[in-house]
């Protein structure tokens, strides 16, 4: 079946006569070397399930899954404020969201997280409200009720 590019093929073919001969020589040499190895018993077909190929095929999927898992862990870590570095001034509001980061506009929602994150000698600023949760302080810090009364412990 003639095609519109037959003229191009016919023009180019002679330019590749040397390539053709050279590649025939390469193919013959490679085939001969493989044949010699097979005949000499240096290589034999493997049997059974090919776990190596399966593993190599799965490798990109495993790497991608691991990268996604790490990204999710890192995001949730930051989102919950766990990665917030210890700081000299930390805010807590009992009415805050769990995703607080200890700042004035995004305060932590528990005293435990506030006392953990504040630096020794720092200030724990507690917004007005009440909590039944106990407070345990194991380092020097200032406790400040920033905008009204704060009740801690039994309500």
């Amino acid at each position: 079946m003639p095609t519109e590019h037959d003229d191009l093929i016919e023009k180019l073919k002679p330019a590749f006569a040397a390539d053709r001969q050279r590649d025939e020589r390469i193919a013959r040499a490679a085939v001969r070397r493989v044949r010699d190895k097979i005949v000499a018993g240096e290589v034999a077909p493997a049997r059974g399930w090919d776990w190596g190929w399966l593993i190599s095929g799965l490798r990109p999927a495993v790497a991608l899954t691991a990268a996604c898992a790490l990204a999710i862990i890192a995001l949730s870590w930051f989102a919950t404020g766990r990665a917030t570095n210890a700081t000299s001034s930390v805010y807590v509001s009992f009415a805050a969201e769990q995703t607080g980061r200890g700042t004035a506009d995004r305060p932590f929602n528990s005293l435990e997280r506030g006392t953990t994150q504040v630096k020794p000698g720092g200030t724990l600023n507690v917004k007005s409200g009440a909590t039944a949760q106990p407070i345990r302080i194991e380092k020097p810090m200032r406790l400040v009720a920033v905008d009204g009364q704060v009740r801690i412990g039994k309500l």
Binding site: F16, R20, V39
Partner: protein
Amino acid sequence: MNAAIGLDSASDAPQAAEPETGDAGLVVRAAAGEAGAFGTLMARYSPVVLGYFYGRVRVDADREDLLQEVFLEAFRQLGRLRRPERFGPWLMRIARSKLLDFWRHRQRHAGRETGGPPEELPIEPADPGPGPREALAESELHRRVRDAIGAMGDKYRTVLYMRLIADQEPHEIARRLGIKESAARMRLKRGLEMLRKDLGPLQ
């Protein structure tokens, strides 16, 4: 190049053409230890693998080594090929893997000097080029066509090589690559269009 080069033949000269046996039958026989069957497969698929390497690996000795590595790996893994009729595409996956290994090995050594990370399957940068005599003989047209084909994607490069250099017909190309003849013709058409565009008007 497409002639059968039997492993059991004493000579490396191409043998007389035989009625083509299906790849699946040859794969089963080769996996059972029939060396001649594998020889026929190697002869059939040498142009395909060399086409895949064309323009990417230009040193003859490297291409010969790679071709040998591909066939040795194929022979080792033959018993694990679940669909013998898909020998061609399976072999090309081995060829791709070997080419990547080749480039990683190259980059490990060259990287100390260049420092940059390797691109996947780059065109060989460290081509020493032909010797003085070959350089004289190599026509400008040949060089331009070789570079243009070498820069093409795998599917066009292989098909163009098989048509222009290995002198195979579209139905043979389709059979080797495990694709429909219409797909082979389409790849060939698009590849030639790209080539024509790259080359401009020919004298």
